[in-house]
């Protein structure tokens, strides 16, 4: 006899009393055993309340603000969708989104490729002190982004470590103030992102590799597959779920990238490295264009949402 049925029997007298509570109870007593009970909503209510207070309310508030021209203090003027059309027409607003998409190459694509290569190599051979290397390679992910950014600011300085290293190997000709160079500032910031993210991808893929059945590799080897063939025929398809997770995490991290830009370049030189998240902060708190900042924020949220859905459909094959 299930718990539900037992309870239903116990509640019989209350039903007879015809009270409202009793009717409600009898309603639930009739439900099939194992079916989730509506009382579950009561359990999630506290979390939902907090969620709506700190996520939903500000979210709808931002949407509302984005329809105004507002400096944060004086009465706002209604501009409808002007803030959004400006995202497409104003080059100073379009730029940050283009930069963010370019940065995705460094934040998502490169770390995944590097992570796959390392994972494939490490899973094929036994290396002494493997845990040590794994920890070291994962370390950037653990550090606070501001610390990372400050460190790289020094590394990329005109007489910093990076240029010193280039000069030492005879490449003194290509040294430059990396973060102050109009062409190379964006890739330089991107490299930092790659350095931060590839450890995460690698650890995810290594974990994924461990649950690939050995028989698949044996079968591939029996069929005469080499290391490369094996990678594309077995490792890559089997790692699909992990790749989807890594892609989602790194893409989201890349698109909402703020601290790195704030500390290293402040969007400069010129506007060469400005990104949407930085623009939101800059416009809302420094220039006093709250409406425009809210519109960028909403557009960024939509972009992240769309990209994440596309990734989970394409890579993970989820419907």
């Amino acid at each position: 006899m299930t718990q539900a049925v037992r309870e239903a029997q116990r509640s019989e007298p209350v039903v007879r009393s015809r009270s409202r509570l009793g009717r409600l109870r009898s309603l639930y007593a009739r439900r099939a055993p194992g079916e989730p009970r509506a009382v579950g909503y009561l359990y999630v209510l506290p979390a939902l309340a907090v969620f709506s207070l700190f996520i939903l309310v500000p979210f709808f508030q931002s949407i509302w603000y984005s329809l105004f021209n507002w400096d944060g203090l004086t009465p706002a003027t209604w501009v409808g969708l002007d803030n959004y059309t400006a995202l497409f027409t104003d080059p100073s607003l379009r730029g940050p989104f283009v930069h963010a998409l370019i940065l995705l190459l460094f934040y998502a694509l490169l770390p995944i490729v590097i992570g796959l290569l390392i994972a494939a190599t490490l899973s094929r051979m036994r290396i002494r002190g493997m845990t040590f290397f794994r920890t070291v390679l994962f370390l950037p992910q653990v550090l606070a982004m501001v610390v990372v950014a400050l460190a790289w600011r020094w590394i990329f300085a005109p007489d910093g470590l990076f240029n010193a290293g280039l000069s030492a190997v005879g490449l003194g000709g290509i040294t430059r103030p990396w973060l102050g160079d109009f062409t190379f500032a964006l890739p330089a910031v991107g490299i930092v992102g790659t350095w931060v993210e590839f450890g995460l991808c690698m650890v995810l893929f290594l974990a994924g590799c461990q649950r690939i059945p050995r028989e698949l590799y044996e079968a591939a080897r029996l069929d005469g597959a080499g290391a490369v063939r094996e990678f594309f025929a077995v490792t890559l398809p089997e790692l699909r779920p992990q790749i989807a997770v890594a892609a989602t995490l790194t893409i989201v991290a890349g698109l909402r990238n703020f601290d790195l830009i704030y500390v290293t370049t402040g969007g400069g030189p010129g506007d060469a490295t400005s990104v949407p998240a930085y623009e939101v902060y800059h416009r809302a708190f420094e220039v006093g264009q709250v409406g425009g900042a809210a519109a960028i924020g909403i557009a960024l949220a939509i972009l992240i949402f769309v990209v994440t859905v596309v990734v989970s459909r394409l890579i993970e094959g989820r419907r």
Partner: protein, 460 residues
């Protein structure tokens, strides 16, 4: 058939969304808080200048004086004020400049803002606060305490906002500043001597020294512009020489017919780009941090460093007597010097403060002659140097700093910070200066970009 569970789920979602929408407020943002100022700032005769008669009062003060000497000066003055008026308690909140800038806006629009705040001059901050009716005009207090006699007009004017809220630099007074600051030319005394040079007496002497220093394998001017804003000061100093002070003021405050594309400003841009291309600045200046450049200068690389007097204390620590300061040399020897500069953030009284008279008395206390001496003793540059400043040794960095400030005040030689020009000018000029220094744009294109921003704002 609709499932009861799903129906309930939909209901919950609907309820959440609608409460969110209600909470988000369906009135235009900013409108609810714009009730007319509760306090017109009319001094009550009895307590106007004597806070002791005001009863028990707590003043909430927000300032940004967190650095060594500045913090020392504020702490001491607050202590003395509370000793003088035991009925007044000062509740001080001190934040760094950028923290204050990002939180002040929200604090002011709240129901219970601080009584006294330090507001940054310019369109995005002070002008916006005044426009929103959040600051009290201080003209009555200025008369009462004689600020107009004590302070140079140029300095008081920076804290004025016009009645139509379109300009600043004229109109009603909304704040008073403690300290002066100006862009100065720091030099490494022993290095200059070892190169067989003396501090230049004219601007052309200065310019002529740069290639000589470069030829001897040294960096003439240490310069780090990764943080974007330092170039405003370097360019400001050059522009003040080529354009003259009145034209720069007209440009910044939007008076007169001066244009950014005028030949004198183009010339200044050419000089800056020329110096960058000839290597008179640190190599790769756009990629070097401001603090890193200062540190390099303090460590002995670079002969000159062009930056604000706020760095004097920082540089003096490692350099000691080796640190020299001078005003950018004038066109003719002994001529009138001019440089970019201004004053520290303005202390202002909020309209919702219950004790505007006490707050104004506090403003006077932290800017009066005694306060000036306290500031000097703590290594700061008071806006109106007093007795203690006169007693500083003339060849010490502090002595040179005060002497330079007095020279500037005597000839009215300060030109305002260029980023005051329009609400978006900081972004425009910092980005364009990086392009100019990096050789991405020509001097002509640079001035056209500035003029475009300027025109857009002034046509409104």
């Amino acid at each position: 058939m609709s499932h009861p569970r799903r129906r309930l789920g939909a209901l919950v979602t609907l309820a959440l969304v609608s409460t969110s929408l209600v909470a988000a407020g369906c009135s235009a943002p900013g409108s609810s808080d714009n009730s007319p100022a509760t306090n017109t700032g009319q001094p009550k005769a009895s307590v106007a200048t004597n806070p002791a008669k005001g009863g028990k009062v707590t003043l909430n003060v927000w300032d940004q004086e967190v650095r060594g000497g500045q913090n020392a000066e504020m702490t001491q003055l607050n202590k003395e004020f509370q000793e003088k008026y035991p009925n007044v308690t000062i509740n001080r909140t001190s934040k760094s400049f950028s923290d204050l800038k990002t939180t002040l806006r929200l604090a002011l629009s709240g129901k219970n803002p601080p009584d006294v705040v330090e507001a940054n001059q310019g369109y995005p901050d002070m002008v916006t606060f005044v426009k929103a009716g959040q600051l009290v005009p201080l003209d009555k207090y200025a008369k009462l305490y004689g600020w107009e006699q004590r302070y140079p007009k140029t300095l008081l004017d920076l804290n004025r906002v016009s009645d139509d809220f379109q300009h600043f630099g004229e109109g009603k007074l909304y704040g008073i500043s403690q300290m002066g600051e100006y862009i100065t030319v720091y030099y490494n005394k022993s290095k200059l001597k070892s190169l067989g040079l003396t501090p230049p007496k004219t601007w052309s002497d200065f310019a002529a020294q740069l290639p000589k220093i470069k030829a001897k394998g040294q960096t003439p001017i240490e310069f780090g512009n990764l943080d974007k804003w330092p170039a405003i000061h370097t360019f400001g100093v050059i522009q003040a020489q080529t354009t003259g002070k009145q034209d720069v003021r007209n440009l910044v405050f939007g008076t007169g017919n001066a244009k950014w594309t005028d030949s004198a400003t183009v010339k200044a841009a050419k000089v800056l780009q020329d110096w960058a291309q000839k290597g008179y600045f640190t190599k790769g200046a756009n990629g070097l941090g401001y603090d890193d450049a200062s540190k390099k200068f303090a460590d002995g690389t670079g002969v000159y460093l062009i930056t604000g007097t706020w760095q004097a204390a920082v540089l003096k620590k490692p350099m000691g007597k080796n640190l020299g300061l001078m005003l950018p040399p004038p066109a003719q020897a002994g001529g009138e010097p001019t440089t970019t500069g201004g004053e520290s953030l303005a202390f202002a009284v909020t309209s919702k403060s219950q004790h505007p008279d006490v707050a104004a008395a506090y403003l006077d206390f932290i800017t009066n002659a005694h306060a000036d001496d306290v500031m000097t003793q703590t290594g700061n540059l008071p806006a109106v140097p007093g007795k203690a400043a006169d007693a500083l040794p003339a060849d010490s960095p502090e002595g040179q700093m005060v002497a330079g400030w007095k020279d500037l005040s005597k000839v009215d030689g300060l030109v305002p910070y260029l980023d005051y020009s329009t609400p978006t000018f900081y972004d425009t000029i910092t980005a364009s200066l990086q392009s100019l220094i990096g050789g991405q744009t020509t001097p002509e294109q640079f001035t056209q970009t500035l003029q475009a921003d300027y025109q857009k704002f002034h046509q409104k």
